[in-house]
Structures are given as C-alpha cells and as structure tokens.
C-alpha cells in the first residue's frame, strides 16, 4: 500500500511560533511574506512554545532542553545527565526570568521537546515553524562534526534567529584576526573595532536585515513541508542554503527573489498548496 501523500494532502495552516524574546517586526514580516505567496493558507503568529508558567511543563521541558545541549561538536550522539545548574537555568528561561543565548542545542532534540506542544501536531495540513533565540546545530557526516544552523527543516521546522549571525561563516580573514585577538587576550574593545572593519560582510546581532533573511528561511521550512526539498543550488535564490555570510546576504538581501524554477513552483503552489511527497 502506498504511503505517499502526493496530491492528497493540502496545506491549510502555517503556524509561526514566536521566539523567546521576539522582535514583533520579524514575524509580522514573515507572515506578510508567506501570506502573499500562499494566499489560500491561514497564517497565525502564536506564542513561544519554549516558555510556560505551568509547573509540570516547566519541569519536563527544562529537563529536555538541558539534555539537548550540544556539549561536544565531534559527537553525533550526546546522551548525558544534565547538571543541576543546567536544569535550573532552563527553568528560568522557560519562566522568562533568564534570557537565552551563548549555548548551542542539538536542533533535533529542541524540535522533539517542542513537538508535543505544537498545535495540530501530527497533522500535515499544518506547517509549524518554531522561531527561537537559541543557537541550534546538527551533525554532519561530511566532516563528522556539529554545525550551527539557521533553519533545521522537519515537522516542526526550527528557525534559529541568532543562527543568522553565527551559522553562515564570516570572511576567513575575520576569524584569523579574531583568533589573534583571542591569543592576545584582547578584550571587548578590540572585538568592536574588528567588527567595524568587517561590518558590511556579515549580519550581526541587531542587524535590521535579519527580518528580511527570516522570510527566506521561513519559506525554506514551508517548502520542506510541501516537498521535502527546501533548498536550491542557485545562489541567487532565496532557497539557497548559504554556508557563508556573503552567500546569505547575496541570496536573501541582494537578490531577495526566487530563481525562475522556484518562482514557477511556488506560483503553482499558491493556487493549491498540496504536498508532493
């Protein structure tokens, strides 16, 4: 018996889950962008899934998030008992009394923690995009190590907002200079000066271009839901999976468009967004 849903299941909703400390302009822009591409689909911006005031949820979610920390970039599987302090930290982030940042999480474990909390989870008529202020990584078999990611496609997909700044690599010269400063124990001031020298070449925290980049990353998540093919090889297409900041800026900001092939595909889907797998 065929398990294919091709042509049978139609996407009816896209739920955009806010990040822990959302910038309202980010998801408003994404909603507007996706609504224009998929006019038949209902879009809703929903509250952050990784925050709660219910004690049961806090305890279970904190344990899962603490266990989701990526401790060793060289190990695919990382099963460990989290420290007391790690669990307590996650409880604070879930309650909203601590902000997230500076920690890398295994994206698949974050998605697994959030998945039961997703509205309509299990229904393919709803695509769920979870925006987060956490850094997420996935393991790559190519070089056998974890890599930071901007978007990790799945059911649900996870979009890391700080990943936009940290995941695609900055110019090599930036890292050489930064490593030199690190070796010299140079402080904050030196890093500020270094960043100024490279400011046009990467997207940094608080960069207003972040909102525009998020539109393309969100579309990648939706395309995965519809076709399991979220990416495009054309570096001028918004579906390009950028590994370098210059490519991210080129595809999402300079071009800001889909390639001809994906333009056609999305146009067709805009009339009837059915799953093709």
């Amino acid at each position: 018996m065929s398990t294919s849903r091709a042509g049978k299941t139609e996407l009816k909703r896209i739920d955009l889950y806010s990040s822990e400390n959302p910038d309202p302009s980010h998801l408003d822009g994404v909603q507007e962008y996706l609504a224009a591409l998929f006019p038949t689909v209902e879009l809703e911006i929903r509250p952050c899934l990784l925050k709660s005031t219910k004690s049961d949820t806090i305890d279970s979610l904190a344990g899962m998030l603490a266990s989701a920390r990526m401790r060793n970039p060289s190990l695919r599987v990382q099963d460990f008992v989290p420290m007391y302090g790690e669990v307590e930290y996650e409880k604070r982030t879930i309650r909203g009394s601590s902000t997230v940042g500076g920690v890398v999480y295994d994206a698949s474990k974050v998605a697994a923690a959030a998945e039961p909390l997703v509205k309509n989870h299990g229904s393919l008529e709803t695509a769920s995009l979870i925006f987060t202020d956490r850094l997420v990584s996935t393991y790559s078999d190519d070089d056998m190590r974890h890599h930071l990611r901007t978007v990790v496609c799945g059911f649900p997909s996870v979009v890391s907002i700080p990943g936009i700044c940290e995941a695609p690599a900055r110019p090599r010269e930036y890292y050489f200079a930064k490593r030199q400063l690190e070796a010299e124990s140079a402080g904050d001031l030196a890093l500020v000066v270094l960043k100024q020298a490279f400011r046009d070449e990467f997207i940094d925290y608080g960069d207003p271009r972040t909102a525009e980049v998020l539109k393309g990353l969100s579309l990648q998540g939706v395309m995965f839901h519809l076709s399991l093919e979220p990416f495009c090889g054309d570096s001028r297409c918004r579906l390009f999976n950028a590994h370098w900041q210059k490519d991210l800026i080129a595809s999402q900001i300079v071009s800001g468009r889909l390639c001809d092939k994906h333009e056609r595909i999305v146009k067709k889907l805009s009339k009837k967004p059915v799953l093709s797998w």
Binding site: R69, Y89, G102, Y175, L189
Partner: protein, 263 residues
C-alpha cells in the same frame, strides 16, 4: 619628640593574634563564603554585606581584585558595556564613553575602588588563604569550605604537614575564574560532570555568563568566569561588565535563598 606613640613588640603581636583569632572564630560559621576575590566575587560580597549578610572572601593571593587591575594584552584600560557602568557609578568610579554603550576606565582606579567598597560594606577577607576542599552536608549539599594557608598549600605535602581547617556556611560561592576550583572539587568527587569548553565560535556569551550565574549544585553558587568553565560557555566573549553583573546576580540568588525563597 617622637612622631609615634610608644608601643611594644609584645603589644603589636598581641593585637595581631587576638584580632585574627576573633575573626577566625567569627568565620568558622558564616552565611556565605566566597572563594576568589576578583571582580565578580567582590561585587557579590559587597551586595550581600550591604544587605546584612555575613560574608567572607577567601583569596589565595596577597592582593584582592584578580584580573581587574589590568585589561587585555596587559594594558590597564578596563572596558565595560552598558548597563554595567551603573555599578561603577555606585562605587564612585569615573569613566569615559568610548562609543555608545561602551565605557572605559583605568583598571587601578576601578579595582581599588571596588575593593574599598566591598571592605567598607563589611565584607571580611582571608587573603593568602587557599581553598582546599568542600564541606558536604545532607544529600551532598555544599555546606562550607576547607582552607589552608597559601604558602602551605604550595609546599609539597611531606614538607608542609599542616592540616587545613574547615569553615561552615549556608552557601559557598565559586568565584575562582577559569579554574572553577570549587566546581572541580565537586567533579573530583563525582558529584557533578562539567561539559568542558565547546569548540564552536559564538559571540553572545556575555549575557550567558550572567544568566547562568546561580546555583550549580545545592549549596554552591557559581559566578564570574567560573560560570564559563562550569557550563562550557565560550571563553572569548565575557568581559568585565559580565563579571560585575554576574557577581550581582549571584548575590541576588544567594540573598533570596537565605531569605527562604527559591534557588
């Protein structure tokens, strides 16, 4: 006519011994012991002392202040990001704005003022004293510190042969910098397993140090660079601003706990 009043060697010796003995008796059971007298430890100590909490700093060196005397590359300009400059305001340190949100001040000025502010708030200090071990209580809660003279701790055991002494406290704060000496002692005993430093290059670690400042184990709060070591946070990002605010956060957590509130 002599400048100074007459006194004897005997009186000087008695004054030193009697005062120190009185202090040691007081220290044997205190509210909070802070291991490490760098910027985070000093801020935590001052904040707690200002609220009436009995605080003792154990510092292995002769001097307090840790790395706060000098900035990067042995240059003694200290940089702090907003809002940490507000703490400099509180202790009367003058500074200049380098660019929006980034302030600079001479290390010797900031450090000496912070030490003075902590001492004036009523913080007690045992310097030239090294942390040797932890005191454990029910369910492996940390309940104090075992200490010894730094010169003794530096000598080989077969020469020194001086047993340490134990001090009890409701809370111990690890402010020992990258070494995270107290946390490492828990790890030696198999009570905690730290992740070690991650190899990924990420920059947003200044906030992370502050946000992770708090209980790492029942009875043990971790602040300052020891937070980076304990949780495997990136080494590069943290700055003096995060050290100061981490100390403040640790003091808040400790105070709430002592009041009978949450961890």
């Amino acid at each position: 006519m002599p400048i100074f009043e007459k006194s004897s060697e005997r009186s000087v010796t008695r004054a030193i011994i009697s005062e120190f003995a009185k202090d040691m008796e007081k220290f044997s059971d205190t509210d909070v012991i802070i291991i490490g007298g760098g910027p985070s430890g000093l801020v935590a100590a001052r904040d707690l002392a200002l609220k009436g909490v009995k605080v003792l700093i154990v510092e292995r060196n002769n001097y307090l202040g840790g790395g706060f005397w000098i900035g990067g590359f042995l240059m003694n300009t200290i940089t702090v990001r907003a809002p940490a400059q507000k703490l400099l305001d509180e202790i009367g340190v003058k500074y200049k704005q380098f660019e929006k949100g980034l302030y600079i001040t001479p290390g010797p000025l900031a450090c000496s003022k912070l030490i003075a502010a902590a001492c004036e708030a009523g913080v007690s200090v045992l310097n030239m004293t090294s942390f040797d071990d932890i005191v454990l209580r029910e369910n492996n809660r940390v309940g104090g510190a075992v200490i010894n003279w730094t010169p003794v701790a530096l000598l080989p055991r077969q020469i020194s042969c001086v047993d340490p002494v134990a001090l009890e406290s409701k809370i111990v704060i690890d402010a020992t910098g990258h070494d995270a000496t107290v946390v490492k002692k828990l790890e030696e005993r198999g009570l905690i397993k730290t992740p070690g430093f991650g190899a990924m290059w990420i920059e947003k670690s200044e906030d992370a140090v502050v946000e992770h400042s708090g209980f790492a184990h029942p009875g043990l709060i971790v602040i300052g660079m020891a937070v980076s070591t304990t949780y495997g946070l990136p080494r590069m990002g943290p700055t003096f601003g995060s050290m100061l605010l981490s100390g403040r956060k640790g003091a808040q957590v400790a105070y709430e706990h002592l009041k009978g509130g949450k961890d």
